[in-house]
């Protein structure tokens, strides 16, 4: 009884508080439905300029300056937006060969990227080449399964990062692909690769149970799936063998998913897996709408792809 009264009272006072310059409308009963937007790219591979108009496969597609306009427009509509990248930022055009990733990181900073993970090609100028470009990135890198302890990247890459947007706690961790046989050892040096599935199981437990995150997102560069080698760790295996992950944003396999894939996790809950191919031709967009827990229990959760 008392609690009901309190909510009504808070309704009455919220207008008053707003007048005082504090915006607390989101706490009122009617407008309590919060909304978080996640935008993501992967495998942009230094594609700063759009493809030529006469390109056989991707004419006039992509382009960082266009992507920036789109991101700005979406951020204006919903300030509670995060912009993420799932790795392989580097390598693919002379911009990288000439300037070593400086433009890529600076442009991503101008677009206000919030977080990225590390792809195999991000080691193409060696781990020192990546380290040298970090001052140009106004965003952090996460990787839970690369151990950089004995490298220059030690302390510069965290396993995960937590964002709080409109009171919603969002935990994001990163995963990288096995480097042996893919990248020259002289490039990645003493970087240790740990099993991504085990790392993800640890991370999702930490983020959900210890950090009490409302949303858990995996930024993965392990690849969508491997038909010829179905046991190889991939995003689909990751989705099936873990719990408490809401969204897996993938990369590495340049998989152009027309729409996100919905997989069932180890306890039978739905996990969304998305990957937007490569070269900045697409931006992935995932919107999370929130409601009071009792409404969600009563009405269920819907996923629209």
């Amino acid at each position: 009884m008392k609690r009901k009264d309190f909510i009504q009272q808070s309704l009455a006072t919220s207008a008053f508080v707003t007048l005082g310059g504090l915006s607390l409308q989101s706490f009122t009963a009617n407008t309590a439905k919060k909304h978080i937007t996640i935008l993501h790219t992967n495998d942009v591979h230094s594609h700063i300029d759009p493809f030529d108009a006469n390109h056989p496969r991707n004419p006039n597609q992509g382009g960082a300056a266009r992507r920036a306009s789109l991101v700005a427009k979406i951020r204006k509509e919903n300030p509670n937006t995060l912009l993420l990248d799932a790795g392989d930022i580097f390598q693919g055009t002379p911009y990288f060969n000439y300037y070593g990733g400086e433009l890529e990181f600076k442009i991503m900073s101008m677009m206000k990227y919030d977080l990225a993970t590390i792809g195999n090609h991000d080691f193409d100028n060696g781990i020192n080449g990546l380290y040298a470009q970090l001052p140009n990135a106004n965003f952090d890198f996460v990787s839970a399964n690369y151990d950089f302890k004995n490298t220059v990247l030690d302390t510069h890459v965290k396993p995960y990062k937590i964002f709080v947007k409109d009171g919603i706690k969002i935990g994001i961790f990163g995963l990288g692909v096995k480097l042996e046989g893919l990248v020259d050892k002289r490039m990645y040096k003493e970087t240790v690769y740990n099993d991504p599935i085990e790392s993800a199981q640890d991370m999702s437990r930490i983020l959900k149970e210890e950090e009490k995150c409302d949303l858990v997102i995996c930024l993965s560069h392990i690849g969508y799936n491997y038909r010829k080698n179905p046991e190889r760790p991939s995003d689909l295996i990751l989705a099936r063998k873990t719990k408490n992950i809401d969204l897996i944003i993938g990369g590495h396999t340049h998989t152009f998913l027309q729409k996100p894939t919905i997989e069932k996790n180890i306890v039978g809950e739905s996990v969304m897996v998305n990957q937007v191919g490569a070269y900045g031709i697409y931006v992935g967009r995932v919107d999370f709408y929130f409601d009071s827990e009792k409404n969600v229990i009563a009405n269920g959760k819907s996923i629209i792809v």
């Binding site: 309190f6 992507r67 996100p260």
Partner: protein, 249 residues
């Protein structure tokens, strides 16, 4: 008054924390980036001088190709593959010789490493970037005769036009090796041979395991792409030929 507002705000926070929020709806999709979006002017202005600098370089004419050259214009050897392996060998030879006093016997590259054709006409810097977009670097591995035989067996089994130079191979219709010569001479037991290749292959790329554990290894600190550009600059018209270095008879 201010105190009351602050107090209310704190109460509201607690009220909010109690009313736990959870995900009710998820919507996912992709958005195409195309010319319907206007370009952000700040980024455009930032990129412009870099783009102009690169384009000026990329459009420089370095050499001339007498015909279209691509990696499928022959069965077990190709014009572009022969060009690549010959030029990597000739560009690396003086560097290797100066450092070690030894000569390079063989060049081995991989068919998959040729990323674009060379069209007939002027060869620009851009051509080298198209053919070799990666940062792969040149290394020279000294191999035992046994590993040279493993290399020949690998090439015969692969049935692919992996670019070679300094080595000639003849196989029968079933791809059994009939003859393998290094610079015209049979492979001699007890001898070592020097093989110039890419760091990628030497480190296990394309499962060329015979390169993995060489008798000696020299890292030239010379990128494949730069060797191409240097070669093009010094060559008026590049050769585009098949010469029977790897044939089925």
């Amino acid at each position: 008054m201010k105190k009351i507002v602050a107090l209310l705000a704190i109460f509201l926070m607690f009220a909010c924390a109690e009313e736990k929020q959870s995900v009710s709806r998820i919507e996912g999709k992709r958005i195409n980036i195309n010319d319907s979006l206007t370009a952000d002017q700040e980024i455009e202005a930032y990129v412009k001088p870099f783009r102009e600098r690169i384009e000026e370089d990329m459009n420089k004419v370095l050499s001339y190709a007498p015909k279209d050259m691509h990696k499928n214009d022959g069965e077990l050897e190709t014009t572009i593959g022969n060009l690549m392996s010959d030029l990597i060998k000739s560009q690396s030879e003086p560097i290797y010789k100066k450092r070690t006093g030894k000569s390079i016997d063989i060049c081995l590259l991989n068919h998959g490493g040729i990323r674009a054709p060379i069209p007939k006409g002027p060869i620009k810097t851009q051509t080298a970037f198209n053919v070799m977009p990666f940062e792969n670097s040149i290394v020279v591995a000294e191999l035992t005769a046994a590993n040279i035989r493993n290399m020949v067996a690998y090439l015969a089994e692969a049935k692919r036009a992996h670019p070679i130079s300094g080595l000639t191979i003849k196989v029968d219709d079933d791809f059994n090796v009939k003859e393998a010569l290094v610079n015209g001479k049979p492979i001699e037991d007890g001898k070592t041979y020097t093989v110039v290749t890419s760091d990628y292959l030497q480190n296990g790329g394309d499962r060329m395991d015979f390169l993995k554990d060489p008798e000696s290894l020299e890292i030239l600190d010379y990128k494949i792409r730069n060797a191409m550009i240097d070669y093009f600059k010094s060559t008026d018209t590049i050769p585009a030929k098949l010469d029977g270095r790897f044939v089925k008879q």
